[in-house]
Amino acid sequence: MNEPPEPISPYEAIPIRLRVNGELRSGAVEPRRTLADFLREELSLTGTHLGCEHGVCGACTVLVDGEPARSCLLLAVQVNGAEVRTIEGLAVAGELSPLQSAMRDQHGFQCGFCTPGFLMQIQALLEERRALSEAEVREELSGNLCRCTGYESIVRGVMAALGSGADG
């Protein structure tokens, strides 16, 4: 029988390496640090927002290995080795992506606080290249809360982006 390992101090920093918006980033984080806090505090990627920190509002959604994930519920140590994409990675060479342009055309958002979560959720949807009805789009967006818009403008933005055939 081996001796039980020393308990890890909750404050002990654990090294992680991951790719964020295409760039290799590394850091040392306490085990309890959320991915959202790691992105916002350590990498200064404040485009990802925290609207509830309990997994309901979707504002903190980022893509982890291409899948939408709530960065308030993930620990930074869980994404060691992963590929993470955030709203800051959407624009192409400084220009708004087709999704961002469609949202601007349609006046998709108002205060912009829910925006990062919606954009990343929708980005993943566009990359699936499925044809979707408006009702299906509403269903797909129903895990993200927006308090300003009543959603219609966001749905229009998605329909426009889908219609343009762009995958983001």
């Binding site: 927002h49 920190e53 006046h107 108002q110 205060c111 912009g112 308090r147 219609e152 966001i154 749905v155």
Partner: protein, 785 residues
């Protein structure tokens, strides 16, 4: 986009009236907005609050030693310590929290008065560590019976929440009467009575409250990054509460993640953080979490009414007697001011001849009363529900009753019985247009057929007026605090800077003011820079609220741009040795007789003015300052209509169609107007079908997460059809009117009326606003209530 006729001196409108893309979106869509949670300052510390688990209790002892010794903790402040640094004062104009009674402290000292009441403040090197240390603060409480309803509060035997108030009534009872009430009741064929109530609900912006306060011990200056609806208001409130000269406080605000009335002035927690920064000489940041936001940031609307309406058999509503009781929660706030607005607005667009209105505001052990989008909305809810109850009683169609009572523009009465002029109202047009849009007779046929199959369809209307800001009233000149001040400057690089006290938090003001300025001045809208969110640059003014922006800031911008344009043309004429009347500014160039071929660049002109190339005596400062009183102004308003089906097995409401016919005068940017309307309607539908700030009998808060306080999602909000009326121009120049609150004001009665109509054959009488499936099943009698 919509073609518009010329709007005045600046030539043909090119941008006003068009849904131009928002300037703000260039940063917001890229994740480059800067919200208060994004501010990082060197040496910044993080705050967390120890909060009361009880609704009402005496604080017997606060032990902070263990927390002070905890990892990363820099300081712990209990209520007494904060009380030595700052004290609460009115944080909003019109608020009652000005020195007491009741007297209270920023953090609880003697007593806690609601669940979540802050008791101690921990400041640490990170938020994680601050929250850890909160667990180590020991607070001993002696529980007191909680007062959790206005009814309880009004019982003289209820335990006083503030001893110095002498009971749990903070305002009233007051009674005001207008017109010949006795006469209208004597002439009435019958009196319809009802108890109507709105439930407690709340703003829930996606971004909560927050502050980064940074006191510089060297200079004695306090720099504050805030999420606020007005930097000047926040600055004044902070200075007063900290005992600092206003000149020593600078408030900055960046992007704001929504507010809906919540972020006016400054909260107790935020002042405490500023006090902590001052004591520590280091920046202190506090970002509210969602649990705090739902539990203690503030709640709204819990109001109940006893109404009697004197009516004729033909459906004419002659007079009303109304008693209002507000459950205003624990700490003093805006409720008394809201009572005044409810009383004044309750006649709405109808020819009511007499009104008696009494009101009482009660204190309870619940979250404090705050402004929430259309704070006085109860007037529309009560009136519009009452109209339908009258119609039911008389066997008339609710639309017919509305048309019978609604005032005709330009015919007596020219005022509501409570005083406000009815100038320019288009309520009748909006009702008539709505009837056409839904084809009411056809709907009634469909409804009858559905009922035969056991399906319950309903139609509901509601009409409202939104004082945005309301027509000029000859006997009440605008309050000096309500004037809109603005500065505008042509910069050396040819951009036009617009300085406003407005503080946008989602409304796109940077775009809409740029549209107006651009048209009037003669430049492209992207050449206009709208400067907001810095108290050191802001003109005087309380900020954004009350749907005042479009008229007040829009009007100030229009006049400032005209004034600056004439000034610039004067200067150009001097430089070019010609007459200003021969020149114009078009597309950012000065053109006309005497101007160089191809025009004179504004940047060149500004540079020449700066270099002093002008004849002595010319005023070369390319700046204008104006104060605007709102002009003739006017009402926004309209009619909303919902067609619904209620499933009597599940209690679910399906909104088949939701229609809006609204009038906000001349639209600056139709896409922004429609966004405001839809967002407001979504909140109103949420209030009826989902949202409720619920407490148990001990005052424990039951809606402290998004699993319990349900916001509408993309599948809950239907497509909203909007039609605009733009009928009446009361002012020669400024006919933009506010549109921020109307949707939220009128959607709840619209939907409740539709549900009541659907359930009419089942005998359900609806006098409340919150109608989730469980409640509908009770009302129908499917389940026991």
């Amino acid at each position: 986009m919509a073609e518009r006729s010329p709007v005045g001196g600046g030539g043909a409108a090119r941008f006003v009236g068009a849904s131009v893309q928002r300037g703000e979106d260039l940063r917001l869509l890229r994740g480059q907005g800067r919200y208060v949670d994004d501010v990082r300052l060197p040496g910044m510390l993080h705050a967390a609050f120890v909060r009361s688990p009880l609704a009402h209790a005496r604080v017997v002892g606060v032990v902070t030693e263990a927390a002070r010794r905890a990892r990363g903790v820099v300081a712990v402040f209990d209520g007494e310590e904060i009380a030595r640094l700052a004290r609460p004062r009115a944080s909003i104009p019109g608020g009652t929290d000005d020195g007491g009674p009741p007297v209270y402290t920023l953090l609880a000292t003697d007593k806690v008065r609601l669940v979540g009441d802050p008791v101690a403040l921990v400041v640490a090197e990170s938020r994680y560590l601050a929250e850890d240390a909160c667990e180590l603060v020991e607070v001993r409480y002696e529980a007191l019976p909680a007062v959790v309803s206005a009814e309880q509060a009004l019982d003289p035997k209820s335990p006083p929440i503030f001893e110095d108030l002498g009971g749990n009534v903070i305002y009233g009872p007051t009674t005001k009467a207008y017109g010949d009430l006795a006469g209208t009741f004597a002439r009435a064929d019958l009196v319809v009575q009802a108890k109507i109530s709105q439930h407690r609900q709340q703003n829930v912006p996606m971004e909560g409250r927050g502050i980064v306060a940074s006191f510089d011990p060297e200079t004695g200056e306090l720099l504050v990054h805030a999420a606020t609806q007005g930097v000047n208001t926040t600055r004044a409130a902070l200075a007063a509460q900290l005992g600092l000269a206003a000149e020593k406080v600078r408030v900055l605000a960046g992007d704001i993640g929504g507010s809906f009335g919540l972020k006016f002035g400054i909260s107790r927690e935020e002042v405490a953080c500023a006090a902590a920064s001052r004591a520590l000489g280091r920046p202190v940041r506090w970002i509210e979490d969602r649990g705090e936001n739902l539990t203690v940031s503030g709640q709204a609307r819990e109001e109940s009414f006893e109404v009697e309406a004197a009516v004729t058999r033909e459906g004419e509503i002659l007079g009303m007697r109304v008693q209002m009781v507000v459950d205003a929660g624990a700490y003093p706030g805006l409720a008394p001011m809201v009572v005044d607005s409810v009383r004044e607005m309750i006649p709405g667009p109808y020819r009511l001849q007499a009104l008696e209105f009494s009101a009482t505001v009660a204190v309870t052990n619940k979250a404090s009363y705050v402004a929430y989008r259309g704070p006085w909305a109860a007037e529309t809810f009560v009136r519009e529900r009452m109209v339908d109850l009258v119609a039911t009683e008389l066997g008339l169609d609710p639309l017919e009753v509305r048309l019978r009572n609604v005032a005709r523009r330009g015919e007596p009465p020219l005022r509501m019985v409570t005083g406000p002029p009815l100038a320019g109202i288009t309520a009748r047009e909006s009702l008539e247009r709505m009837a056409e849009l839904i084809d009411l007779p056809e709907f009634r046929r469909r409804q009858a057929a559905a009922r035969r199959e056991g399906r319950y369809l309903g139609v509901g209307f509601a009409t409202y007026l939104e004082p945005a800001p309301g027509p000029r009233s000859p006997d009440s000149p605008p309050d000096p605090g309500e004037l809109e001040h603005q500065r505008m400057r042509l910069e050396a690089d040819g951009t036009l800077s617009v300085f406003t006290a407005q503080m946008p938090h989602g409304q796109g003001h940077e775009t809409t003011l740029a549209q107006i300025a651009a048209d009037q001045f003669g430049v492209d809208w992207e050449q206009v820079r709208v400067v907001v969110g810095d108290s050191s640059l802001s003109p005087a003014g309380f900020g954004t609220g009350g749907s005042r922006f479009a008229t007040m800031a829009g009007g100030a911008t229009l006049h400032a741009a005209r004034e600056l344009r004439s000034k610039v043309l004067e200067v150009a004429a001097q430089l070019l040795d010609t007459g200003p009347e021969r020149l114009a500014i078009v597309g950012g160039l000065v053109v006309g007789e005497g101007a160089p071929a191809g025009g004179l660049q504004l940047a060149e002109l500004a540079a020449a003015a700066e270099r002093g190339l002008l004849p002595v005596g010319t005023d070369s400062r390319l700046e204008a300052e104006v104060t605007f009183d709102g002009g003739e102004s006017g009402w926004s308003g309209g009619t909303h209509c919902a067609l619904v089906e209620v499933d009597c097995d599940t209690g679910r409401v399906r909104v088949e169609r939701y229609l809006v016919v609204e009038d906000c005068g001349e639209m600056i940017n139709p896409a922004i107007v429609e966004g405001q309307v839809r967002g407001g309607v979504a909140q109103g539908l949420g209030a009826v079908l989902l949202e409720r700030s619920a407490y148990d009998p001990d005052g424990q808060y039951l809606s402290g997460s998004f699993m319990d306080y349900l916001l509408p999602t993309a599948t809950d909000v239907p497509h909203i059809e909007i039609e605009h009326l733009e009928t009446v121009r009361l002012d020669p120049d400024v006919n933009f009117r506010g549109v921020g609150e109307g949707g939220m004001i009128v959607a709840p009665p619209t939907l409740c009326n539709a549900i009541a109509d659907a359930l009419a054959p089942l005998g359900a009488r609806i006098t409340e606003q919150h109608l989730p499936p469980s409640r509908l099943l009770e009302l129908i009698g499917t389940i026991g209530g």
